[in-house]
Symmetry: C3
Subunit: 348 residues, 3 copies
């Protein structure tokens, strides 16, 4: 079950550069391309003529031309031309609201009349010269809820990412989880510890002594439908931690946009925004390489977990304090799904 | 659903040279081989002893020896010998009527008593010294009806085969479709145009100036169960088109024998017969290479179309004038299926 | 359907050297590893915390540490520790009785209270200096019953293994099958024949003239759940055959431990014990290479047989005299399954 009335990251702009892209989002086959003004367009990936995927075609003058018999589909989902045919009575196909923002193409898979750009969340670190951003995308054969669980409980870092960002102090330090409306925040603060390898690299990049003791923080912020922003960083010990001056810390936001494909698979758009050395592209490259490797370590675990859960469908899982972030996030999702279902019933 | 009481191309002779071949046709697992007189034999691919495929065995003195325990199956589907066994009470397996003609092995997947070699259609271009023939086979993960649609509407050439046989004039010229009993014919005549690359090559091969304006024709002829013969060619403009003298034209028949494997896959035996330079094997090779590449371009489209239709099972497709060839061909198939079903009920 | 209350070979010791192994046996996902005393441990492959496979983790101080969040599972299926957690109320996971013997790890997939090491069969050729042993493992996509059929009817050697151990005299010599309680024995004795290539190699290795006429024997012994031991060998003709003096014969036992994975797949632990030149490792290597190649020849046949049987589910197979070994073995299995089912009902 997916929250359909919401904005999801659909793709990166380079994925629709010069050609249409076929992608399934929340169980819907979609085709994405740029119209005549360069604006992104999202349509159902189904030619009304003979049912071929429009994504196999090409873009001409801002219309999407079917690669089979040349039907030209307009940005409103109405056929605008076809060689030798009068097309006015051709059935329309579904269009999906779309916004280009923050370096992504966003789509609204739900009701057309409920789509509102104002419902798009604000991210202070995009389009902000004080910050730099780099990221990538993975396709993961696991339900999107398992990725939310993963990101809302960072105690797994000690085991899955033991050589980069994991350290025993994560396990040993309790986390605290709060729900504020639809937002869930789970945080952990570790004081006077040594930094693990990834953060030592970041400290050196910011001119800090990587042998120094640090205060480390992890503040995971879930917002619906499936975004997880994680404040992460280390500051020289005793300088105020998260609130330390910029020159005494390295501070990043792990950015996770999780887009369901099917009940058991999703597109994972990951990245990292940092508030130090924003004009150093080599550092951006280096961090992205490291993060890509780290997030790749999660994939086998999530995919095998999904397979095991399908194999044991009736087994109840534990909900420990460390799981509170994921558990509460799923409760928010369930409540929104229930509200959308009730609203649909009320209209029926 | 398949028309079972009909002749289908099962394989090329080289596929059963020296060894049996296992192939599924109209949902039936079959094994094909040559008997003691060299005649083709088609049996159910199931050893009555322990159920292994007989196609894993070998041919000995015209009998098919199971590769597991040496049961010898005769051409009539009756076990003729097995080491140390009396075989007279072994249950028979099903045999299928078979004919070798026109360079193919043909099988009748339906009722044994209805198989009649006289029902095999006649093709003037096979075994005729005025014609040359070359072709190949593809396995396609799409229902055979989608291939009939494809071949009975050549307006797709403009898009799928834009670099070889496609040209805008195909789209711009209306086609005409007629049904004569079980035959469907859809034709298109283009006058005073330039030839596309494939036909320029053919013109040069026949000593014609490939820059000259031409009249071009496409006459698609469907006959049940799923054969599509297409008269194609170009003549120097104003010389009579299809009826021009042989020295003023290049004239071919595209030969399409479409053999269902399952509801969503088929074997596609394609080829081209030509009525010029029949004794030029290098030209035969060159045309076959070109045609193989062109027909390969259709495969991704058909397979993705099939996948999309399975994903949208209730969606109605458009039936435009250009689709009339496929639509009428399917109506013929439906009528024959209905007649065969009624005949079966009358016997019950 | 599997006989669950029985000992099965689960793996070779080298498969759990330094790391846990995930394997499905009789439809159960299991994880195998060594505990703190080096003893083998078998648990359900399911972390009670979030359902990930424990086999993705690692062994620490004899406990199995989940690779996701560090839950430490004890050998009794009870969680012994987890960072920052009180684990006493965590639900236990299933444990499986295990024995290490004869160079294998054996598991009992059934009822814990019925597992009895005394029910493990005795094999005289293991751990016996007069014998040498070598073997390997295959994964086969066919039900384990088809492998039992294969091994209890060696007439297939003439066809499947024609270049190594097959010869026409196998087919021509009747076999005799007897059932003694739960044991089924099918035997064939061939007198005064020439040895096929594999046995010629063995004769030369044992200093015998490989051109000499021989008496050859095959005595297949099935015991539940799915073990097949086959006495095989050749003796110089007229020297007593199976009972000939060691210097006049080459005598081996083909060892087949067949472990069901699912209804249509199994793990096949094959090997050969020989009672000549036991201290010649090069000979062990050579025999294992030959046997591995021979047994590989059966795999395509069994997997295609399985596919064909799934395709023809209602077809009855023949039960000839040569099939008596497999047929009687399956009757033993059916009877034990029925007894276990009745016992379960009586408890309910």
């Amino acid at each position: 079950m997916f929250i359909k009335n919401s904005w999801y990251v659909a793709c990166r702009p380079d994925e629709i550069y010069g050609k249409p892209l076929g992608r399934q989002i929340c169980g819907q086959k979609m085709v994405l391309y740029r119209g005549s003004e360069g604006q992104p367009v999202v349509l159902e990936d189904f030619c009304p003529h003979r049912g071929t995927p429009l994504s196999l075609g090409f873009v001409k003058d801002g219309n999407l031309v079917c690669g089979y018999h040349g039907l030209e589909m307009g940005c409103e989902g109405k056929t605008v031309a076809m060689p030798g045919q009068r097309v006015s009575s051709f059935p329309p196909i579904r269009t999906f609201p779309v916004i280009e923002r923050y370096g992504f193409i966003w789509v609204w898979p739900g009701d057309l009349d409920k789509a509102d750009p104002a419902l798009m969340p604000t991210f202070e670190f995009f389009d902000n010269p004080q910050w730099a951003y780099g990221g990538g995308m993975y396709h993961v054969n696991a339900g999107y809820e398992l990725m939310i669980d993963n990101l809302m409980d960072l105690s797994h870092e000690t085991y899955v990412h033991s050589t980069s960002i994991g350290q025993p102090e994560i396990d040993e330090t309790p986390c605290k989880t709060v729900t504020e409306g639809n937002r869930v925040i789970t945080s952990r603060f570790m004081e006077n510890i040594k930094a693990p390898p990834f953060w030592r690299m970041a400290m050196r990049a910011n001119g800090l002594n990587d042998e120094a003791s640090v205060d480390r923080w992890q503040i995971c912020r879930f917002t619906p439908p499936s975004h997880v922003m994680i404040d992460v960083g280390v500051a020289l010990a005793g300088k105020g931690g998260f609130d330390a001056a910029d020159e005494d810390k390295v501070y990043c936001v792990v950015v996770d946009f999780i887009t369901p494909e099917s009940d058991t698979s999703h597109w994972y758009f990951w990245g990292m925004a940092r508030k130090f050395k924003p004009n150093d592209p080599a550092l951006t490259y280096s961090i992205r390489e490291g993060q890509g490797k780290i997030f790749g370590e999660d994939m086998q675990m999530l995919e095998q977990q999904q397979a095991n859960l399908l194999n044991y469908p009736s087994r109840r899982l534990l909900k420990l304090n460390i799981d509170a972030g994921g558990v509460h996030s799923r409760m928010v999702i369930e409540r929104i799904l229930s509200e959308q279902s009730n609203a649909a019933d009320a209209h029926a």
